[in-house]
Amino acid sequence: MKTPSVFAAFALVLACGCAFCQDKPAVQQQQPDLSHMVGVWRGEMDNLPAVTLTITDEGGKLSGAVLFFLHVRATVNDPWTSKAATAAEPILNPVFDGTTLRFTVSHKRAHPPRTLNDPPSHFHLTLIGPNHAGLVNESEAGSSDAGPGLPMVRSDY
C-alpha cells in the first residue's frame, strides 16, 4: 500500500522531532535471532509444491532465493502437476524483525518480455510456530484478508 506523501512527510517530521527530544543516548537495538528463519521453507497447495524459499545469512547478511511453482495439467481430465517456474529469484531488501521477514521479489523475469517493466512484488513471512510460518504476497488482491498466508515448513539448509 502506498502511503500518501503528505502523511509520509508528517510522519517523518514527527519522527525527527521525537529523535531530537530524546536526551538519552540511543540504545543499540539487539539483532533478531536469525536461526529460526534461516533454512529452506517449502509451501504446498493441493499437495503440490507451490513455493520454495531458501534463507541464509552466509556472507554476513540476510539473503535468500525464492522459486515459485506453476500448477498445470495437460487436459481437464489429467491430474494437476507442479512445474518450477523458469528461474529462482533473489529476495530483495530483506528485513527481519524477529517474527516477520519482509522482502520484495522482482517480477521482471517472471514472464518476459511482457513483464520486464513490472514493479516488484512485496511479501512477508511470519513465524507461527517452530519451523512453521505463513507466506503472504502483499501484492495480490485480497492479501489483507489472507490471514496467516500460505503455510510454510522449514528444514535445515
Binding site: 529452506v40 532465493a65 512445474k83 518450477a84 523458469t86 529462482a88 533473489p90
Partner: protein, 142 residues
C-alpha cells in the same frame, strides 16, 4: 534412479553429457555487468538442469542458482527436485563471474563456482572445489 543430495546435484552436471572443454575460447573484451544480468540455463534431456539468475535490482549484483535433480525413474526424464540456492559473494571481473554456494548438508563447505563468458554469448560454468563437476555450457535465456 532417483538422485538426491547436493553431491547428486553436482554429479548431474557430469551426467548431463554437455561437458565441454575446461579451457574457454578467447572472450569478448571486458563485458560490463550488464552482460551477466539475466537467466542462464543448460538443458539435460530436454529438462532444465542448471539455472543461474543474475540481477542487480538493488544496484548490487546478486543471484540464485537452481541445480535441478532429474530422474528417469518413470521412463521419461523429469525434474524431481528443485532447490534454489543463494549466490554468495558474487563478483564480476572482466569476463569472469565467481560466486559461492552453500553446501546444504554437512560438511558445510562453500562450493566455489566460476562462470566464464564466451564470445558466442554462451557461458561456461564449473565448480573448482567440487568432487566431481565438469564444466557445463549455459545459454542466456533473457
Amino acid at each position: 534412479m532417483k538422485l538426491s543430495g547436493f553431491a547428486a546435484e553436482i554429479l548431474l552436471m557430469l551426467a548431463a553429457g554437455v561437458a565441454v572443454a575446461q579451457t574457454a575460447p578467447p572472450v569478448a573484451q571486458e563485458p560490463s555487468r550488464t552482460a551477466w544480468l539475466g537467466v542462464w540455463q543448460n538443458d539435460f534431456d530436454g529438462q532444465p538442469g542448471v539455472i543461474v539468475t543474475l540481477a542487480d535490482d538493488t544496484g548490487e549484483l546478486g543471484g540464485t542458482v537452481v541445480l535441478n535433480m532429474i530422474s528417469r525413474e518413470s521412463g521419461e526424464p523429469r525434474v524431481v527436485g528443485s532447490v534454489p540456492h543463494v549466490m554468495v559473494h558474487p563478483r564480476a571481473d572482466n569476463e569472469t563471474l565467481t560466486f559461492e554456494v552453500k553446501t546444504p548438508r554437512a560438511p558445510r563447505i562453500m562450493k566455489q563456482f566460476v562462470m566464464v563468458l564466451k564470445s558466442d554469448g554462451t557461458a561456461i560454468i564449473h565448480c573448482p572445489n567440487c568432487d566431481v563437476a565438469p564444466a557445463v555450457e549455459l545459454t542466456k535465456k533473457w
